[in-house]
């Protein structure tokens, strides 16, 4: 069908859709009112139907005309109170208005649509046959059509008023505006603006509603803007022109001060202009909310539930694009609440809730964002049930579930492929809902959160940005071009210094990962994904240089402690022997800049050359020739007039074949190998490194250190032949390593360090000099070469031979009287007078000798074992004499836990005390140890506590 005048038709469509949007809500209100007919309201609906009919007749749209006419007839009866609207009648009217909307959206084909299904019931209502026919509807079809030709004439003509007001409020407005313009522009504000303000918002939202539902007709999208807003825009534009003139003048005169003023002025006007223009895009969220009463009504009817919908905050305004985009997700969520959330009336009664369920839809501003809340007082979401279902579907493992919080469990609902409904209904619950909702909202830069209490209800809150047109972005640089990463995707910025790159970046196969606070993050190089040459920023030269590394984790020696080197990369390396330029691997400035981004379920690190500022940018679309470049979400113009591309982090991940699963799989894989590697190392020792003279390096176990103080040499006093200093209101005895050990004397410095220990219930300070450092090492301790009084042994730390100070021995020798005051380590005698025997299981020679030393010194017999298995064998052979077991945790063949478990499961050894020794008492280890039956836990080098504990257990035993 061709139409003569596009514009008139377009006008008709827009206007009709507006009317229809109103009709729907009004009909619902009429339904609520029942016999209490609100005449004004009915009138309004009547007029709307009439307008549509009039327009359709004029345009030659016969089907639309007929249907609207039939509706109008029924409304006429209601208006004249000849008919009391009941839900059935309203239902018919609603269906008819739906049909009308469909036809108007597709005007071209509207005349071909079969509307008899709607006409018949309408006409039967009109001629009074509907009431009894409600049940036997189909029968009526034959009788109805006849009537429709005759009735209109009678009913319509006596209604002159609608014809006048046909295009409804619009003409009034337009007229007013016109008159004003002609008359006196200056008076205008006072009286007229309020009028427009009142009437306009309503219409803005209506047009939008119409727009949304008209994808079929290719309508040039238009938007209705508050006239006062347009006026202010005009004013601002005028200001801008004035300022421009000023600027041009100033430029001619070289007057800098004036130029500055003008610049400020333009700055001000531009931002005001920007704000005002943004406002034109803002629309009340009511546009979306308004359709939900109908949705809830229809659904609850279908499901035989009783539900009230309360809507709060219709006036909250959001950007037009967001309003359009949240429609579907919100509908889905509302349907979910109605279908799954609210229980059947009977069930509610049983639970002591009111029969009528409540769904609250609420929008409000919070911290520069808009929050939409969908709350129901239904049965809530059972996190455990979700978790169990996720496991059953193979989406998660039981182990993963264990560590999840209740909230995380509830959020499982967003997992792709998840359906919570036990049975699938046609309303919702096809298993493809919530993840789509989340994806849609993520695309908008929104955020969904679910709070749920089983039995009490669910609250879903959605946070949305006010607008999408201006977004804060992090600007980065790669290959001499700038790119912008939206802040909503940004988790954090990470810079790995050159000397840590090789420790923190690892690879599995060809995937690279970085260790970040114990988690592994897959890495993507921006230059690789978008196909640029690899470069890096050289801070010294302020230029970009070519990067030659194969992998970030490449290092001088390609042998990784964890993974075998691939032969391929080695041979490739040999193929380019002429590395005349400084290779990146050797360059000092090869720090890595990583932007940690997240999108939906995915989180990864994007390796870029440089990190610049964060800026608020305006998104501009890319031309159609660039639509195929999926890596960009658009472009923006930077302050210097050049363009920066906006990166689409989700697509970048896809382009580099990084799926969330892949990423986490790789991460798990590598985490596992790391763990293995750490296990293999065993016996990590935390040490404090310090010096006494400049040339000799010492270490003490970090866990023995109470604190470290900086002092001046002048703080040290010599009193009664003892070195002391004031410390926390008392005096602290100071010792030096060279007091006992044959090492070089303490360096003569002004600034000294005091390492405070607590030995034999006394504080003692060890004088030392820097540099000090704390580190965890796994080096082997040599307890022969350098052993001497005060020195336990030595080890190599970073190529330095380091002596391990035995602080206990130092104190014992220098202050022997300290030990008299505390419990004397007298060996407890067994019943037959011999010394009790202790079984010591420890794989490290050094520690075994140390501990054995303590024990024999105190008068115990010690049987040594190198691992758990040997210890178990020995224990069985000597079970008569062994009265205590001291075991290391990490040992080959059988570890301490296993050993303890074996002992505890053997009735022969009931009551045998087991003391576990560890270098680092991690809490979970302690818990695990206690679970398998360890009596006490001690640190290996804490002689004092260990011995006290040994005595304690021995005394108990004898």
């Amino acid at each position: 069908m061709e139409f003569e005048d596009d514009e008139i038709l377009q006008g008709f469509i827009e206007e009709s859709l507006e009317h229809l949007a109103d009709i729907e809500n009004d009909l619902l209100t009429i339904e609520e009112g029942g016999a209490n007919i609100d005449e004004e309201l009915v009138n309004k609906v009547f007029r709307a139907a009439h307008s549509i009919k009039g327009g359709a007749g004029f345009m030659g749209l016969t089907s639309i005309q007929e249907l609207s006419h039939a509706s109008e007839n029924v409304l006429g009866l209601i208006r004249s109170k000849k008919l009391i609207p009941n839900p059935e009648i309203i239902n018919v009217l609603l269906l008819a208005s739906d049909q009308l909307r469909q036809m108007i959206e597709d005007v071209q084909n509207s005349n071909e649509v079969d509307i008899s299904a709607h006409l018949d019931p309408l006409n039967s209502i009109f001629d009074g046959t509907f009431a009894q026919a409600a049940a036997a509807e189909p029968k009526k079809k034959a009788t109805a059509p006849k009537k429709k030709a005759a009735e209109p004439v009678v009913e319509i003509e006596p209604e002159p008023e609608p014809t006048v007001a046909e295009p409804e409020p619009e003409p009034e407005l337009a007229e007013e505006e016109d008159v004003l313009d002609q008359e006196d522009e200056e008076i205008e504000e006072e009286e007229d603006i309020p009028a427009t303000v009142v009437s306009n918002p309503q219409r803005i939202q209506d047009t939008d509603q119409a727009k949304k539902s008209t994808p079929a007709t290719k309508v040039e999208t238009s938007i209705r803007v508050n006239v006062s807003l347009l006026d202010s825009l005009m004013t601002l534009a005028g200001e801008l022109v004035l300022s421009r003139n000023q600027l041009l003048q100033t430029i001619g005169t070289d007057d800098f001060r004036n130029a500055e003023t003008v610049g400020q002025r333009i700055d001000l006007i531009t931002s005001e202009l920007q704000e005002a223009i943004m406002l034109t895009r803002m629309q009340p969220i009511g546009n979306v909310f308004n359709k939900f009463p109908r949705v809830v009504r229809d659904l609850s009817k279908k499901l035989a539930k009783k539900i009230d919908l309360t809507i709060v905050g219709k006036d909250v305004e959001l950007d037009k694009t967001i309003i359009e985009a949240i429609n579907d997700p919100l509908t889905h969520l509302i349907r979910n609440s109605v279908d799954h959330g609210i229980e059947m009336p009977a069930e509610r009664k049983k639970k002591g809730k009111p029969e009528t369920g409540l769904v609250i839809l609420k929008a409000y501003h919070e911290a520069g964002q808009v929050v939409i809340e969908i709350r129901d007082d239904g049965k809530g979401i059972d996190g455990d049930a979700l978790a169990a279902s996720a496991v059953a579907k193979g989406l998660l493992t039981a182990d993963q579930i264990k560590v999840m919080s209740e909230k995380e469990k509830v959020n499982l609902i967003f997992l792709p492929g998840f359906s919570t409904a036990a049975k699938v209904t046609d309303v919702s619950g096809r298993g493809v809902g919530m993840d789509v909702v989340k994806t849609n909202l993520d695309q908008l830069g929104g955020h969904v959160d679910i709070l749920s209490e089983v039995g009490l209800g669910t609250t879903i809150s959605i946070k949305l940005p006010l607008t999408l047109a201006i977004i804060p972005c992090q600007i980065i640089m790669t290959g001499d071009e700038r790119y912008a990463i939206p802040q909503v995707n940004l988790e954090e910025l990470l810079r790995i210094p050159a000397n840590q790159v090789k420790e923190r970046v690892e690879r599995v196969g060809d995937a690279e990962v970085v260790r970040l606070r114990g988690n592994l993050l897959p890495l993507i190089r921006l230059s690789d994904v978008i196909g640029l040459d690899r470069t890096f920023w050289d801070d010294k030269d302020q230029t970009f240089k070519e990067d030659r590394r194969e992998m970030i984790s490449d290092r001088r020696s390609k042998a990784s402690p964890l993974f075998g080197t691939s032969d391929k990369s080695q041979s490739e390396q040999q193929q380019r022997p002429n590395r005349s330029v400084i290779d990146r691997r050797y360059a000092a400035s090869s720090a890595l800049n990583i932007v940690v981004v997240s999108t939906g379920a995915m989180k990864y690190g994007l390796v870029v050359d440089r990190l610049l500022d964060s800026e608020e940018i305006v998104i501009k679309p890319l031309g159609r020739h660039l639509q195929q470049c999926k890596g960009y979400a658009g472009a923006t113009i930077m302050g210097d007039g050049r363009i920066a591309l906006i990166l689409d982090v989700a697509n970048l991940a896809r382009m580099s074949n990084l799926t969330s699963l892949d990423g986490s799989d790789r991460a798990t894989e590598i985490a596992h190998s790391m763990e293995e590697a750490i296990k293999a190392k065993k016996d990590k020792q935390a040490l404090l490194i310090f010096r006494s003279s400049e040339t000799e390096q010492f270490a003490v176990p970090l866990n023995q250190v109470e604190r470290i103080e900086k002092i001046k040499a002048s703080d040290i006093e010599m009193l009664g032949g003892k070195r002391v200093m004031k410390y926390r209101g008392g005096s602290l005895s100071l010792i030096r390593v060279d007091d006992l050990a044959m090492v070089q004397p303490l360096a003569d410095y002004d600034n000294l360090l005091v390492i405070v220990f607590n030995v034999a219930k006394h504080n003692v300070g060890l004088l030392a000099i820097g540099p000090i450092d704390a580190l965890e090492i796994t080096a082997d301790i040599d307890d022969i070469t350098l052993k001497q009084p005060g020195i336990m042994g030595s080890l190599i730390i970073d190529t330095h031979t380091t002596m391990l100070v035995n602080i206990f021995e130092l104190v014992q020798n220098l202050f022997p009287d300290w030990f008299d005051s505390i419990e004397v380590f007298d060996a407890v005698e067994t019943t037959d007078g011999s010394a009790p025997t202790i079984l010591l299981a420890e794989d490290s020679n050094f520690f075994r000798n140390q501990v054995k030393g303590y024990m024999t010194e105190a008068g115990y017999e010690v049987i040594e074992a190198e691992d758990g298995q040997i210890a178990w064998d020995l224990l069985q052979q000597n079970r008569e004499v062994i009265s205590m077991v001291i075991t290391d945790i990490e040992m080959p063949n059988m570890d301490g836990f296993q050993f303890t478990k074996t002992i505890r499961s053997d009735p022969r050894f009931t009551g045998l005390p087991v003391i576990a020794l560890t270098t680092l008492a991690a809490e979970e280890d302690v818990a695990k140890g206690i679970a398998v039956g360890v009596n006490e836990y001690h640190l290996k080098l804490d002689k004092e506590k260990l011995m006290t504990s040994v005595h304690h257990f021995m005394k108990q035993r004898y």
Binding site: C629, G631, G641, I643, A644
Partner: protein, 154 residues
């Protein structure tokens, strides 16, 4: 619906003005009404992963304009950026697009009735982008079908 009949096709008056320019050595022309403006080459931003005939994007008074190397697109060889090429900004359906050409020439009035079909030997990639050939006293002008040039392949 009715717009189609007015633009593009000269129905009553057969004479249109052609903006002519050189792509490499070939003289080409297009309806001057399609041309919004002609610029010197400004600073462009490269777009990694773009089709090879897209030189980059530039900021034209706040609008992002895609620049297409017409020579490359038509298979007539890359335009030499050192020889002061010009950008013809055309207003196409999908927004503004810049066509990079080697040199701008005169505006020529052409009687569309005298438009001849592309010569038979103008086959392959070049042929499909030309509506026809117009003969002046001294030279031949290939008339570009701009929409075709700007349409996406596949």
């Amino acid at each position: 619906m009715k717009n189609e009949s007015q633009k593009g096709q000269p129905s009553r008056k057969q004479v249109i003005e052609l903006a002519t320019f050189y792509i490499g050595d070939a003289l080409c022309g297009m309806d001057i009404l399609k041309v919004q403006e002609i610029n010197k080459l400004m600073q462009m931003t490269k777009v990694p992963q773009a089709p090879d005939y897209v030189l980059g994007i530039l900021n034209l008074r706040g609008q992002i304009v895609t620049i297409i190397d017409l020579g490359k697109k038509l298979g007539l060889g890359e335009t030499d950026l050192n020889l002061d090429p010009r950008n013809i900004i055309v207003n196409s359906t999908g927004g503004h697009v810049g066509l990079l050409v080697a040199k701008i020439s005169d505006v020529v009035e052409a009687d569309m009735e005298k438009l001849e079909r592309p010569p038979a030997n103008m086959r392959g990639i070049q042929g499909e982008f030309f509506k026809g050939v117009y003969k002046t006293q001294s030279t031949l002008i290939g008339i570009l079908d701009v929409e075709k040039v700007l349409s996406l392949e596949e």
